[in-house]
Symmetry: C2
Subunit: 348 residues, 2 copies
């Protein structure tokens, strides 16, 4: 095992960034012992929570204490504060840029610019930002290859539940003809609550109360979030080249409590199913509510849990079930990608 | 991507070896295009099917044609025939040794000797042989590390359904406190048939007729096969150091049709559950028939399908469901491990 300290820069210190740093704060010792993984967190840039940069390394525990107590890291007791996200992308002190700003599915920004800049400057990039991957995967993949660095993004589909790395690495060599799944926890939670007797409106309110749904729930309930994930699955896993406008999309807003009951009485459940199918040379994607038989592998995936079934040539269907979102869950996705970079470049 | 031709030697040309070569025969072009993976199959050693060795490379299609038509490869139209398994382990013409001889859970032989010899001679080893991994993992892991080569064995738990690589790589960084699963397809098939109304004896006969169960079904129905897999999960994934005698083991031979019915009437199913639990510093394993509620993630895994649930700190429970055995399925496990070696050493 080569001695190597990975110098990490973090862009975005919201839920995911905090989840990742929380794991680093708790597990630094374990990661060193188990994987020989050593790191320094060189900088964090976030326009709201604050920015701080110190080539000597920031202390994850201090950062978490500050964010827990003050809600920001502007008073971090060392380092420069006059930096921004592009400082992180371009710094010679940094090997891996972790890009975890919020997803914008129309422009991909600011993540797209961050990822391009970081790759251009020869840095490995790990992201959980769906926008840039859904909008510009072929370009970013080529850019990373041309610079001899890795671009990894396990977190974009089901947070830390393996999906991208499962399909591309743990099942390398299979051909996948179809992927079907429940990739939006909010709508699955709402449908589960409707099965328990709530109306759509009541279930939505409950989801909002628990923090599963935004005040404006459109992205979830109209199927946009699932559609972005379908685009990523299509383009990254199945060799497609589609955009979100190519996805046949229908949300769950028209589903009534009665529909849910009627399905159950027929041995079925209504699920918002994302589906990507390869037919001949082309890849097609859809997101829509469907009645699935209770014996279907996705029928028993309840609440905020997600699942994906890969239909493969060598293995038949393979299904993975796990959390689809969450602060620590997505932080775990970042960690697993950072450890993959470590494994690849620093020995194993 | 570095140009590199992987020179592969195969020990064992039964179901798994044939499954692997069948994939190579069909997918060589795809593997080159998709992964930049180039290979030569240098030698095959099997005391029954025949042995053949040619540093120029054997043709997978010709090998499959011979095995399909004649049941052996003794008439392969080129190469030396006077070689044995140790030739493969020690040859300077070979980079990766694929060890797929039958499992012996008491001695690990002949696989254990093959793997030791190949590692000592600086070759990467990929195996689906449960014996050596269950009996000698710490020794073999250290030997591989000391030689700077990889020892990979995805196929030992659920054939090509990701289990080892899922836990160690795709979820790298999590701590796993418990693993629960259905890891023997034969017994799960028998229990499924009993739910459909067969007696144990009838279901066993049906399993034997379909090739799921051996003439002597002891290894499956008494839980030995599942216990070996529990040992591997304990030692490889959870940092334990147990042997098969440490596994609390009970088979399914005492389960009656009436037990299965009674469970169902109470909203439960009887499943042969392998469980590995970390408690304090120690790791404990058991294999026994249990009644699980129909809402349990493993309850709906029917027939010869297998499943594992990993209970993790960062992700909560993550469940994977897929085939647990089969010729091409285990051949896929070998392929995914060979491609992992390729990715690691020859760029990506």
């Amino acid at each position: 095992m080569c001695a190597h300290t990975w110098r990490i820069g973090l862009i975005g210190f919201g839920n995911v960034g905090q989840g990742f740093v929380r794991i680093l704060a708790r597990k630094a010792e374990t990661l060193r012992e188990r994987y020989g993984f050593e790191f320094k967190l060189i900088g964090i840039a976030d326009p709201i929570k604050g920015s701080v940069y110190d080539p000597e390394g920031l202390d994850p525990k201090t950062l978490i204490k500050l964010i827990d107590e003050k809600g920001h890291i502007k008073d971090y007791p060392a380092g420069r504060k006059d930096i921004d996200s592009l400082t992180i992308c371009r710094s010679e002190d940094i090997d891996i840029v972790v890009e975890v700003t919020p997803t914008n599915i129309k422009t991909g920004e600011p993540g797209l610019t961050h990822i391009r800049e970081a790759l251009k400057h020869g840095k490995h990039v790990v992201t959980s930002n769906k926008g840039p991957i859904a909008l510009a995967y072929p370009e970013l993949k080529e850019l990373a290859a041309s610079k001899g660095v890795m671009l990894r993004f396990e977190g974009v589909v089901m947070s830390g539940t393996p999906s991208i790395n499962l399909a591309l690495e743990a099942m390398a060599g299979v051909d996948i003809s179809k992927v079907e799944g429940i990739v939006n926890g909010t709508t699955n939670f709402i449908l589960t609550k409707m099965e328990e007797g709530m109306t759509y409106e009541e279930a939505l309110k409950e989801a909002q109360r628990l923090g599963y749904a935004e005040a404006d729930p459109t992205a979830d309930v109209e199927g946009w979030d699932a559609a972005v994930k379908a685009v990523i699955i299509a383009n990254v896993i199945m060799g497609g080249n589609i955009t979100i406008n190519d996805v046949e999309r229908e949300g769950i807003t028209k589903i009534t409590k009665e529909d849910v009951k009627d399905a159950l009485s027929k041995g079925q459940r209504i699920k918002l199913i994302a589906r990507v199918v390869k037919e001949g040379g082309s890849v097609k994607a859809s997101v829509k509510p469907e009645r699935v038989s209770l014996t279907h592998p996705l029928a028993n995936v309840m609440g905020a849990i997600n699942a994906l079934t890969f239909y493969t040539d060598h293995l038949g269907p393979v299904t993975i079930v796990g959390p689809g979102a969450g602060r620590v869950e997505t932080g775990q996705a970042i960690l697993t990608d950072v450890l993959a970079i470590h494994r690849h470049y620093a020995g194993r």
